[in-house]
Symmetry: none
Subunit: 316 residues, 4 copies
C-alpha cells in the first residue's frame, strides 16, 4: 500500500507535463483557463478578506456558524492553491520564501492551529495569523500590468525619495524638539515628551492635522504655522521627483516610438511604388499588430500609434 | 376633435424644420438664441439647486408659500424643457436614457408624485427625488469646452490612476488591519473593528486627518507617522501620472503647430490614402470624419473612436 | 491771499518736472531714491499691519496711548503718500480707482472718521476700515519681479483652473447632498442641512479634515472614504495644469535662449579671428552684460548662461 | 615639564602629515577608514538622539543611572570628535563657526556646564543645550550624495518659492482678517484676535485642518470653503516650480550625454580659451577647477561659485 502510494507520488513529482500545464494556469494568465483561474482567485480573495472584516465586527450569534463554514471553505481552497503552487512551481523553495508564498501559507494556518492546539491556547498568534490573511489583497495589485510602470518610476526615483524621507525625518525630529522646548513645560501641555512632539510635527508637516495634539501658546502657534507652510511647500519635492522620473520613462518610450516612426517613413517611401501595384491587403504591414493587444479591435492603418477603438498607445 | 388633435400631433411630429430649429437652440450653443437658452438654463438650474438647499434648512413659516410657488415654477419650466428636448432630439430614446435625460426627468417628478399619491405616502422616495435635482449642477460643467481637455487627460491616464487607486486600497486595507492588531484590544479603543481601522487608514493616508479616530499608544503613533509620511510621498504618483498625460496632450498640440510648415510627408501619405480610398470606398462610411480634426491624419476605419495617429477622442 | 494760494496751486499742478521726479521716486524703483522709498514704505506697511494686529488683541492699558500715537503717525504718513501719489500720477483717476488706490484711501480714513463723527457713531464701519488696512500687505508682493512669472503661469492656466474649480464645486454639491441623504435623518446628526453637508464635502475633499463634521454610520464612512480618495487623486489635476503651463513658459524662454545661443556660435566664429589679435578686454563682448544684474558680480565669459557668482540665469 | 608639554604641543600642531591623515578619515569618506568613521558616527548620533528622546520621557528610576552613564560616554566621544575636527581642519575657525561646528560644540556642553555650575543653576539653558543635540540628526542628511540634487533644485527655485511663500503670507493675513471681521464679535468665538485668525487661515489653506479653531456661522463656513479650495488649488504652484527646476537639471544632464558626440564647437571654444589663458594666466588661480566637472565648460573666473555654462554649484 505504502509502496504504491510512494510510486504514485514519485510519478506525480516527475510528471513535468502536468506541472507545466498547471503552471500555465496558475502562474500565467495568457490562456483562457489561466484567466479564469485568476478571476476566480481574485473573487475568492475579496470574499475571504471581507470574511476577516466581518469576523472583527460584532455580529449576531445566528451568523456565527455561517462564518465558521466560510472559514472551512476558504481554508480548503487556499490550502489546495498553496499545495498546487508548490507542486507546479519550477523552484518551489523560491515561491515558498517569497512574500506571497509566506502570506499564502500563513492564510491557511489559523484553522490548523486551532485544530492542533485548541482555540484557547496561542490565541493571540492565531488571531494575528487570521488578520494577516488580509495582506493577500496585494495579489489584486499583482494582476495588473500597468502597475509595473508606476512601480518602475517609483523604483527609479526610490533613492531620491529615500533621501527626501530622511530629510523629512531629520526635519520633524528637530522641529518636534523645538516645539517641546516651547510648550513642553506648560501645565497640562500635550507635548509631554519628544517622541510625542515629533508625532505632532509629522501630523502637521504632512498636512494630516488630526488636532489631537495642538499648540496653545502664541509662539507655539507661530512655529506650527511655519511647519505647515514648510510641509505645504516641500510636498512639491516628491511630486517633482516622481514627475521627472515618469517623464524620463515616457521620453524613453517616445524615443523608441519616433525611431520606429522615422524608420517607417523611409520604409513607407520604399513601399509606395510596390503598394501602388498591389491589392489592399498589402495595405497592412505584416510586421504590424493587426489587432489591438488591449481591446482586440482590428487596426487597419499600418504604423498607427494609437488604437482607433480604445485609444491605447500601441507603441508602448 | 380627437381626430383634429391627432392630425395636429402627427404634423408636429413630422415637422422636421421646427425640430431642427429647436435642436439648434436647445442642444447647440453656436447661435445667439442657443447661447441665450444656455445662459437662461444655467441661471434657472442655479436657482433651483439653491431652492433645494433652502428646503433642507429650517426656514420661517412665512417663506414656505414662496418656496412652494418656486417649486411650481421650476416644475413647469423643467417639464417644458424635458418635453422639448425629447421632441427635437433626433434620437429621443438615447436622450431619455442618458445621465442628464434621467436627471431631467427625475427633477420634474417629485411634484407630480406629491400630486398623484399625496405628500404623506412615498415620502422618502419623493424626498430623495427632490435631492437628486441637485445633480443637475453637472450641466454647468457640460457647458465649458476647456473641460474636455481635463477630461481627456484624465481618461488617457484613467487606467494608471485606477491601478494607483487599487494600490492605495490594498495599502489602507493592510495598514488598517495592522493598526487593528496594535490598538484593537485596548479598553476604550476607537479601532473597534477592521473596517473602522481601514477608515482611519484612509483618513490618515489621504492627509485628511479628521481626528475622530486617533492612536493613543506609542506604537500606534509610530505606525500612524509611517502612514502619514507614506501618504505624503505617494501623493506624488497621481500628480506625476496626470502631469505626464497633460504633457503628452500638449506635445501632440505642439507637434501639430510645428508640422504646419513641414507637412509634405503627411501630404504624400494623404495622396496614397486617397488612392487607396478610391480603390476601396465601401470601407469608409460617408458620414464619418475621414480626417482627424486634431492632427489631420487620415482615419481609415469608419467608426473609429480615437485617432490612430494622435490618440485624440473623435467622439467628443 | 486766496489768489496767491490759487496761483501757487496752479503752478504746482503745472510743474511737470516735479511730477516726473516724484513719479520716478514713488512709482518706480530703478533709482537709489526710488529703492529707498520702496524699502521705507515696506517697513512702514509691515509696522502698520502689526499695529492692526496688536489693536485686535487685549493689551495692557499703559500701551494704549502709544498705540494711539502710532495711529496718528501712520495716518499722517499714509495720507501724505496718498496725496503725493495722486499728485504725481499721470492719470490720478486710474490710480484712485485701482485696488491699491482704494486700499490706500481706506487705510487713512478711520482716523478722520473718528475725528468727524466721534468714535461712538459709525463704529462698525470704522472698525472694518481699520481692518482693511491689513490688505496693504499685498503691496509687499507687488515689489517682487519673480512674482510675475508665477502670476503669468497662473493666468495662462486660469481658464483650466476655473473649469477644475467648477468641477470640484459640482462634485462637492452632489456628494454633500448624497451625504445628507445618508446621515441627514439620524438623531443628533451633524449633517443638519445641505449647505452644511457641502461644507463637510469641501473640508473632506480638499483633505483639510477639520473633524468638526464627521460621519458616524458605516455607509457614511464609506462615502467619506470615497470622497477622500477622490480628493487625494484629483489634487493632481491643478498641479498638472500649472506644471504644464510653467513648462510652456520655460520652453518659450529656452527657445529664445537657444536662438540667441546659436546666433552666438555663428557670431563667435566670426569673432575668433578678431579676438586672436586683440587684448583681453576684447574678451568681453560689448553687447553682453558685464555685470550680473542680480548680484552685481562681474561676468568675464561672454555668452555665459548663468552668473558664476550667484548661479542666476542671465538669459531669462 | 611644561616646556616638554609645550614642545610636544607645537610638534603636534606642526604635524601636517597626521593632520592630513586624520582629515581624510574624519572629513572625507573615500577611504575604508573614512567610511568606517562615518558609519560609526552615524550610529553614535542615532543612539545619542534617542538618548535625548528617552530623557524627555518618564522613565523608571532604575534606568536613570544607565542614562547617566550613556551621557558620560557620549560626552567623551563627541568631545573627542570635536577636538579632532578642530585639530585636523585646515581652517579650524571656519569649522568652529559653521552650523555643525556649533552643534558639535553645544552637544558636548551640557555635561561640562552641570559639572561647572551644578545642575541647580542655569537649568533652563542646560536643558535647551541638551535638546539642541537632536539637531545633529542633520548630519545624517549630510552623508548622502543624492541630497545635493534635491538641494540644488530647491536652491535653483528658491527665489520663486520665496515669492510663493510671501504670496501665501499676504493671502492668509488678509483672509484671517476677513474671518476676524465675520466671526470676531460672536460670543464665545474662537477668533479672538487677528493673529489667531491668521493661524486659522494657515491651518486651513495648507489643508492641515487641526479643527481647534473652526467657523460656526454660515458665512464663516463659506469663507472657510473658499480658503480650502484656494489652498487645494495653489498647492500646485510650488509643485510646478520644483518640477520645472528638476526638469531643467535633468535636461542639463541629458544635454551633456548627447553632447559627447558633437563636442566640436565646444572644443573649438576650449582651444580659444586655452589661448586666452596662456595670455593672462594670472587671471586664473591655479588651485581652482578650470573646467566645470558637470558640463566640461571652461570657468574663467577664479572663485566662481557656479558654472557660467550650466549653472551648477561648483562649491558643493
Amino acid at each position: 500500500m505504502i509502496k504504491k502510494l510512494k510510486a504514485w507520488w514519485e510519478a506525480l513529482m516527475r510528471n513535468e507535463e502536468l506541472k507545466k500545464k498547471l503552471y500555465t494556469i496558475i502562474f500565467e494568465s495568457d490562456t483562457p483557463m489561466g484567466k479564469l483561474f485568476d478571476v476566480v482567485l481574485i473573487i475568492l480573495i475579496i470574499f475571504s478578506v471581507h470574511l476577516v472584516f466581518i469576523e472583527s465586527m460584532e455580529v449576531p450569534l445566528s451568523i456565527k456558524p455561517w462564518l465558521m463554514r466560510a472559514e472551512y471553505f476558504f481554508t480548503i481552497v487556499f490550502t489546495a492553491e498553496y499545495v498546487l503552487r508548490l507542486y507546479c512551481s519550477p523552484k518551489p523553495k523560491d515561491y515558498a520564501l517569497s512574500f506571497f508564498g509566506i502570506i499564502d501559507l500563513v492564510a491557511t494556518l489559523p484553522f490548523y492551529m486551532t485544530w492542533l492546539f485548541g482555540s484557547a491556547r496561542y490565541l493571540l498568534i492565531i488571531r494575528v495569523f487570521r488578520l494577516i490573511r488580509v495582506f493577500r489583497v496585494f495579489k489584486l495589485f499583482h494582476f495588473l500590468r500597468e502597475g509595473n510602470l508606476l512601480l518602475r518610476s517609483i523604483i527609479l526615483s526610490s533613492r531620491k525619495i529615500f533621501v527626501f524621507f530622511l530629510f523629512v525625518v531629520t526635519l520633524v525630529t528637530s522641529l518636534g524638539t523645538v516645539m517641546y522646548m516651547i510648550e513642553g513645560d506648560l501645565p497640562g501641555t500635550q507635548f509631554t515628551n519628544i517622541p510625542k512632539s515629533i508625532y505632532w510635527a509629522i501630523v502637521t508637516m504632512t498636512t494630516v492635522g488630526y488636532g489631537d495634539v495642538t499648540p496653545v501658546t502664541g509662539l507655539g502657534r507661530f512655529l506650527s504655522s511655519l511647519v505647515m507652510l514648510l510641509g505645504y511647500t516641500i510636498m512639491a519635492v516628491p511630486t517633482g521627483i516622481v514627475s521627472v522620473s515618469m517623464m524620463n520613462l515616457r521620453d524613453a518610450e517616445k524615443r523608441e516610438a519616433t525611431q520606429e516612426d522615422s524608420d517607417e517613413v523611409e520604409e513607407e517611401n520604399m513601399r509606395i511604388v510596390e503598394r501602388m501595384k498591389t491589392e489592399d491587403e498589402e495595405f497592412l504591414a505584416d510586421d504590424e499588430p493587426n489587432y489591438c493587444p488591449y481591446c482586440g479591435g482590428s487596426i487597419l492603418f499600418s504604423g498607427a500609434n494609437f488604437c482607433p477603438h480604445c485609444g491605447r498607445n500601441l507603441k508602448v
